[in-house]
Symmetry: C2
Subunit: 330 residues, 2 copies
């Protein structure tokens, strides 16, 4: 990828990253960023790292790699009910990067940051003999004490899920096996699945609603079944879920019709970046109405139960089990 016009570190930052910096980033000219927290607010912080060949395909478009790396952090902030304040990026570049590649990368980063209202604050660029590695720390703001915790679910709360589940997992399957028979049934919906894997859409539009109404929340990054189980364990609760109510996109439904075994893949695969939230019954109506007004689909899929760690997934009235609850990092 190497071209004749590879800039040095300072020039690289000035050319590609400084234009993305918010006021707190001080034009990336200082050694640190500086932000004034909002009075009466807590700062919510999340960090995620992604590695080429592990979390994305090295040949993915540079702008999509950048988009996803930031989006997964914005998804965490949304699930916590936090409004984005900004992010820091460390970028370890392998040999052979080009200025064009970096320009595309910065454009994807800027597009995701603009969509999420989350400016660049700072970071670090280094070289690596290994694969491209990105680490992003994102900061958000919530009124004091109002972060939506993973641990807050209470027995009797309703469980809601945003968007649709399983598209990214099926998109990944389509990448890995483009000739899989089930893809014939999906037709043009294949593009939707591929796109959902490449470009998750963080649900920042319902962050304020979640902190108003939700008792608990987390984003679905490692698979719906596994992440819901994790959240219920953290809350000391169990859950009863009606799988028939878990929202699937039309392409995902087509895929499952053609190959029923894909339902488990959709429910346990990762990379959804949708939100699971628990809501006291009295607040459910307000949350659903608010989400509808914000244009974010939100589906009620079950309820929180009292028995810690006891997960019941009902499929056509019978209890289903999953061999593998979620994506494992090791």
């Amino acid at each position: 990828m190497s071209g004749p016009a590879r800039p040095g570190e300072d020039e690289l930052i000035a050319r590609h990253f400084a234009p993305l910096a918010g006021p707190g980033g001080l034009r990336l000219m200082d050694d640190a960023a500086c932000i004034a927290p909002l009075p009466g607010c807590d700062i919510v912080l999340t960090a995620d790292a992604v590695v080429a060949g592990v979390h994305f395909f090295p040949e993915d478009p540079a702008d999509a790699i950048a988009w996803k790396a930031l989006a997964v952090n914005l998804s965490d902030l949304a699930a916590k009910g936090a409004d984005p304040l900004g992010y820091l990026l460390t970028l370890a570049l392998p040999p052979g990067w080009s200025d064009d590649w970096l320009a595309d990368f910065a454009s994807g980063l800027g597009a995701c940051a603009a969509a999420g209202g989350c400016p660049l604050l700072g970071g670090d660029t280094v070289k690596t003999p290994g694969p491209l590695t990105l680490s992003i720390t994102a900061l958000g703001s919530v009124p004091t004490g109002r972060m939506v915790p993973r641990t807050g679910a209470k027995p009797g709360d309703r469980i809601v899920v945003s968007g649709t589940i399983g598209d990214a997992a099926l998109g990944l399957k389509a990448r890995l096996d483009p000739l899989a028979p089930w893809l014939a049934a999906v037709g043009a919906g294949r593009e939707h699945l591929l796109d959902r894997y490449l470009r998750p859409r963080p649900r920042g539009d319902i962050a304020a609603l979640l902190r108003m109404h939700a008792s608990g929340g987390m984003d679905v990054s490692d698979g719906f079944v596994g992440d819901l189980t994790k959240m219920m364990r953290a809350s000391g609760c169990g859950a009863r879920v009606d799988i028939g109510r878990v929202p699937l996109s039309e392409p995902a439904r087509d895929a499952v019709s053609a190959e029923p075994g894909l339902l488990a893949a959709a429910l346990t695969g990762g990379d959804d970046y949708e939100i699971i939230a628990t809501v006291p019954p009295a607040a459910l109506g307000a949350l659903l109405a608010g989400a509808a007004a914000a244009g974010v689909p939100l589906a009620e899929v079950g309820e929180v139960t009292a028995l810690a760690g006891k997960m019941i997934f009902l499929h056509n009235g019978r209890e289903a089990t999953f061999a593998r609850g979620s994506f494992s990092h090791f």
Copy 2:
């Protein structure tokens, strides 16, 4: 390095990292950290990534790798006059890590965090087919508007430097060529040089003094000459420095006596993690007295001049030039 008892991701976090978490880290049980900023304060943010084989030797002790990765961030906070609030760590582990290695790593991280008063807030652990890669984002606090900027130097200000310069660069040389003739003159001082390369000591003890008295500041990470030049450019100033006043340790002086060419290496090599600050003449006395009381050596080495970018380094009354001002990342 692989052993029989390698934990999974959740167990790894619970075993090695949760004990390091401060209250804002929520026992690393949630998807995000949450801190309450101090009223009337700004948040200062800095991020640095380090890669095995680029920024440290893969065979370095695990605790030293962790110490240095955090220390370089604490050094940035100190130079900005910020008191540490906490840090987030993303860790990309190569194949072959062991639980013992990780325990040592966590102990070095905890030691540096305790010394600097900077608790763990959160992070992410992923696997990589490449080299060990660490990224740390550190947060600090300053009274509103009081971050010490890189851009704040004014003509007539005095230039001060903490500690001693060049030890780490000479320590690195000693690592790379353990039989170098000059090491005979250094004797037991070799250990001091090696240690300065492995375990930088951030200057948090003078952070509050710097924000009270300094007009500008940055930490010396890429070499004294290059970093001072960078700071003066950012401030739109120049500088006149008396090299004879730049503080060298006894082992560094011995090295330079044995091989005079090492003076340039000491002044342009990286990894010092000392602080350059500029101070209005009227505040110099208070800063020097405060630093002495805090036990931090601070030496006056020159003054800021009006001609932007014009750097004059005087050595025994003659102007010296440097072929290579600083460590370049590319």
